[in-house]
Symmetry: C2
Subunit: 272 residues, 2 copies
Amino acid sequence: MKFSRNERISVLTKILLDNPDKIINLNYFTEKFNAAKSTISEDLVILKEAFSKFNMGKVETIAGAAGGVKYTCGINKTGAKDFIKNLCGMINNKERIIPGDFLYITDLMYNPLVIKEAGLILASVFADKGIDYVVTVETKGIPLAYEVSRMLGVELVIVRRENIFSEGSTVSINYVSGSTKILQTMTLSKRAIKENSKCIFIDDFMKAGGTAAGIINLLKEFKSELLGIGILIDNVQSKEKLIKDHVSLVDYNGFNEEGDISVTPSKFIQNL
Amino acid sequence: MKFSRNERISVLTKILLDNPDKIINLNYFTEKFNAAKSTISEDLVILKEAFSKFNMGKVETIAGAAGGVKYTCGINKTGAKDFIKNLCGMINNKERIIPGDFLYITDLMYNPLVIKEAGLILASVFADKGIDYVVTVETKGIPLAYEVSRMLGVELVIVRRENIFSEGSTVSINYVSGSTKILQTMTLSKRAIKENSKCIFIDDFMKAGGTAAGIINLLKEFKSELLGIGILIDNVQSKEKLIKDHVSLVDYNGFNEEGDISVTPSKFIQNL
């Protein structure tokens, strides 16, 4: 059975998008499409061009025996700015203010339409850095962290707040929350991370960064390194952060008596 | 700026895959590609054919003023069977047996390559049923449930084990675990689900189904209905389930003294 170029282009697009950061050998495609290598190579030239013109990420061909084609996620900068501006508008709604001066953002954190876009922006920051794991702490940041791990094609690691029987031997550390000064525990199965791994930490919200600082210490127990921190909403009322560097998408600066919530695209987004 | 048919086909494929179950008006594409409606319609005929030939789901055009094009996820049955067979092979490894006769499967539950495929199979069961929410209970099933919600284009709802300050007023119910007979609590923010919604429950592992039965009761508090249950691994040692119907992908039937783990594709998968 033979297929038209248009059909191959559609299927190739799907396969590449489904396999970020994986080198796919061209033989896989020549067999799937019953086509010559030269034909597939021409298809890939077209794809490279289309992905580049529409800011859909990068398609590269890698020469040699272990070579093939690789897709890396990427963003449309204007689209990303517009998305974050819209997200700020969605957050700035006084009905989100709940007793205890918290902001209800759970609906956004669990909405695939929001998380897909936010995850793509954060993943593109850490793409091509040779990340082994995306790490998060349960619960609210899990969809975002999963989305980033999906886009980077690496495993997700979820640190737990308490010991879980079904995870075998665990490593636990204590850490002090930067904002409330309360002592807390985080726990991770010994099997979860191989030694000498490169990790990033992804979370939905950051205040003083106590959790992120805890993650750095936890990763030391696994002889592994934290290469970066990506946060959706940064509470910039907490000026003194316990960690040095992080990338955030939205700056949150509290709300006034009228219920106007101060929420703006972060410097990182503004400078895209 | 004009684009070639091949370029449009690649970008159209990505946009459809990114927007499952959403009707996209053709005007969106005519503007994006600076092309006539008839041209886009021809592109979509090619896409329909390609998606159908390669079992990538369904592309439909919907006539009328509110019409457009809609993509619904779908599976390649042979591919799904092969994937589940491989997954059973990955689970059947005696190093996964941990003290307390638990099975360590956390790495699989957090691996996007596994969860993407498993999520797609479960999503395709419930596609086109007009689902409003995908519901899960923290923590291990969250990536799977998120993936299903992503494929269905609906919001995810994560039920918590304890009360969370940042979620406002909550509804809590008590339920008895079907296997351990221990009384447990589940909690959900009042804002999480609108009344009269249709939900499905997705989880990584099921024993007697106590959690799923609890979810049915919790949803009643929201005047909402559970339309279906999708589980990755069904512990078939628990023969008397507390719930009537569920779809599972893998049957787990314990392990013997040699450490052979009995794990097979479920009847649902075998009958695909």
